[in-house]
Structure formats: C-alpha cells, structure tokens
Amino acid sequence: MKKSKTVPLLLLGSTALLASCTPDQPPIQEMRQDAYASIEACDRDWVDDVCERSGSGHYLGPRYFYSHDNHTPYVIDRQGRTRPMPSHYGAYNGYGAGTANAPAVSPARTTMVTGNASAHGSSAISRGGFGSGRGSFSFGG
C-alpha cells in the first residue's frame, strides 16, 4: 500500500507561485440581457428568439453584446450559439448606427449587464464565467 517514501511536489511550497495569482485582464465588453414585464413585449423585441420567464417573474430575452472588432451587435441563443443580431430586433436600434452605446431602452424593458464579452476577429467570446451561484458559502466536501 505504501507507494513512495517522500511525496515530491514541484509547484506547491514555492513562494513565487503563491505570491501572485491575479492575471492581467484582457479588454472586455458588456454582455446585456433585457427583462420585460410581459411575454408579449419580450416577443415583440426578440421576434424569433424564445423569451423565458425568470425566477423573479419577469420575461428575459436572449443575451447580447456589441463587438467592437466587427462593429456588429451579436445575440446568443439559448443553446449558446452566437449570431449577428437581425436589424429588425428591438435591441438593434441602439447598436444599428455602429456605435458601442447602450441600446435605447423602451419603457417596457429593463436592460441588465449580465457579464462581459469580447470578440476576436470573426469569433465571439462570451465572458462571465462561473461563480454567481456561490453566494458567500464554501462548497468543498
């Protein structure tokens, strides 16, 4: 059962490694999502993307972001696929002029920043990561 005399460690115990664990952050862009009071208002803005009811009772459109590289707004569907936002979508209005300004917010919806996104060439990278479900508790076992 005893496999070795001393357990070798190459990384741990190195003060150089323990000293820093915060990487430089790349430029990021805001990921947005709109909340609506009614499913009708949500469907009107997002046309062929499915709106979903949130836990707080609002209706959520898909997430979207503006790519500074391509000067194009992108929408991310429920399966995680990204595509350029069609110009007849409600949220396109604020982006359609090729600016990075926030979209015009109609009285029927509230725009939330849900994370960060960046675009690389023709590929879009969503940012946001995992951690929102963590609360203030640890979870090791």
């Binding site: 995680g80 994370g115 690389h120 609360g135 508790f137």
Partner: protein, 384 residues
Amino acid sequence: MRRVKLDERANKALRLESRGLSFHAWDNYWKETAAYEFTALQVGRIESASNELLHMLEEAGEYVVNNRLLGRLGIPPAFHDAVTASWRNEEPTLYGRFDFAFDGEGWPKLLEYNADTPTSLLESAVSQWDWLEDVKPHADQYNSLHDRLVAQWKTIVTKRRPAGRLPQRIHFASVSDNEEDWICVHYLMDTAVQAGFDVKHVFTEGLGFNHQTGYFVDEDDGQVDILFKLYPLEWMMREDFGVHLLNTHTQVVEPLWKAMLSTKAILPILWQLYPGHRLLLPAYFEHDTLPAGFNSYARKPLFSREGANIALIEDGKEIARGQDQDYGAEGHVLQSLITLKAHDGFFPVIGAWVVGDAAAGMCIREDTSRITTNMSHFVPHFFE
C-alpha cells in the same frame, strides 16, 4: 480502530506550510495531538468497501439513465441529454471521496459520496504522509493518492483521443478569494505537472466561451482543451454561463455524469437497488412511503455540502442541525440515523478516496458535533 494521543511535532507549522498547507491553523484545522490507529484488516475493509461501492454506483448510474430518473436526482431538464451522453461516452473521472461511518467493527456504512468537488486533498495525500514519515516512520498508512492522481491525468488526457493529437495543457479553475480551494487546485496542478503536462490556473469567474470554436477560454482567450473545475456541477448547470456546457468541445473534469452521483438522491437509489446491503444505510426520498417506525434519520438536502442544512432526527425529535445555507429547494432524502462511536468525545468520519475507478486512500475528520462540517479537524492516521 482507536484514537491515540500524541505530541505535536516541534516544527509542525514549518513542515505543513513548506508543502503548501497554508491554512492548517484556521480553527485548529490540522490536529496532530491525536491520530487514529487501524489494523490492516480494518484498512482492507475500507479499501474493499470503496471498490465495491464504485461498482454499485456504476449499476446505479446505468439504472438512472435507462429509467430516465435524472429529474428525480435534481438535474435540470436542459442537461439530461448532456449528462446521459457523458455517461454513455464513459468520460473519464479524476477522483471522489466516500464518507463512511466506521468504528472498526463490522463494515463501513456509506454516509454520502462526494463525487464532484471533494477537498482536503493536499492534507490527505501529502501532509499526513509527511506526518507519518516524521512521527511513525515504521508504521504504514492507507495512502496511494498522490501516485494514483499522477497516473490518472494520463488516462484523462489520452482516453478517446488519437495519440498524435493530445493536448499538452490542462487548465485548473477555482473561485476567487478562496485560499483553501486555491491550494487544493494547485496541488492537483502539481500532480498534472508530474504526469508531464503543462498547467494553467484560471478563476472560474474569468472563464470565457468561444462561440466559433466551441471551447471555453481562459482570461487570455487561450483555448481550454481540458478543464478541471473545483466548482459544483449543479451550480454550473443553474448559472447563465452553464448553457455553454451543453455544446462545448472542452473536456470537463469532473465530467457531467458525476452530477448523478454527487447528489444525495443517489442514496435512496442505491438502497432501492441493493436493499439491506451491508455497506448501506436505509435511505428514502422524503415524500416516499416510509417503513413503519422509521423515525430516526438524517434529513439531507439533495445538494447540501459540508453538513449545511442537515438535520438529525432521533425518535421523531431533532437532536442536531447543520448551518443554514439555503440548501434544500430541490428536495430532501432521509437516511437512517447511525450512532457514531465517540473517541475521547470526538466523532470521526472516514473519508475514503477513490481515483479513477480504484480505491486510493483515506483521511479522517473529527468533530464534537455529530455533523461533520468544514470546521471539523483533520487528524492523521496509521496502521501497523
């Protein structure tokens, strides 16, 4: 099995910290004024119990998938197909830990299976081994964790991949502002380096997803071929970013199928498949029809961790309750109450490690409370 009182090493703090265990003094977490002594027969029983339970869980996983019981296990419907595919594809696992009630007599009884994010790893694999070398150099310890972890990384990287196209880098993710998790993950990075791989740490909050390639990316937009994440699968599935788990080419460790086994709901499933098994305690879903006289039990939320929101009921009356951390929305299971034997006023719980598909060692945590939590003390062990 007995608790033996011992003197601390004069250089205890230096020994522990020089090997990376920076948090040993938090709430007197690492305790070496005592150790647990076992016989070879007892250790053999813990080892064989672990291997047998792994086989039983394989049967249970097959039963769950074939009978479409993933919803009953608390897995969100959007992930049922992905979890099933992960199971069918036999995506490789790194590790897990059974928690056993055991007093040295008879067989260990399974309390729960930490299949997804077990911690206490550096102290199990390295710190208690160092302690053995220093304090009990002629004794032995049930501990092949380190060597098995190094070997298992090779399996994880090579399984189902053509030999000429093996990733060279493994990414390791832990949450920010948590030193204990950071240390645990960096120990695993150490084992991957010893297996011959390049490693990189990323905070879970800093992960991105490349929609064009279908891979997760690190903070520098580097492609993540293999991601070890010390973050619960059930939380990932419920967060907005979790949708990317459904269509990613990134190999995630632990794999998605581990979500079936890391929920307490697997306990009544096991009992249903193996009623009366010597390694199991009777367990039921809370709203099932219970046997007559079943009024002493542990009420456990499906996804509770570190003893949170667990209540111990004896003869219909609550006798202990874990910290409230809002677990329980997905339901509860009831597991027959077992009376742990106290040693000098402490209740020990055996953590039996498995790596890949084999038993790999053990650790012991003890507490004056009957519910083991993250405040419990880690105590080394040995056998002659």
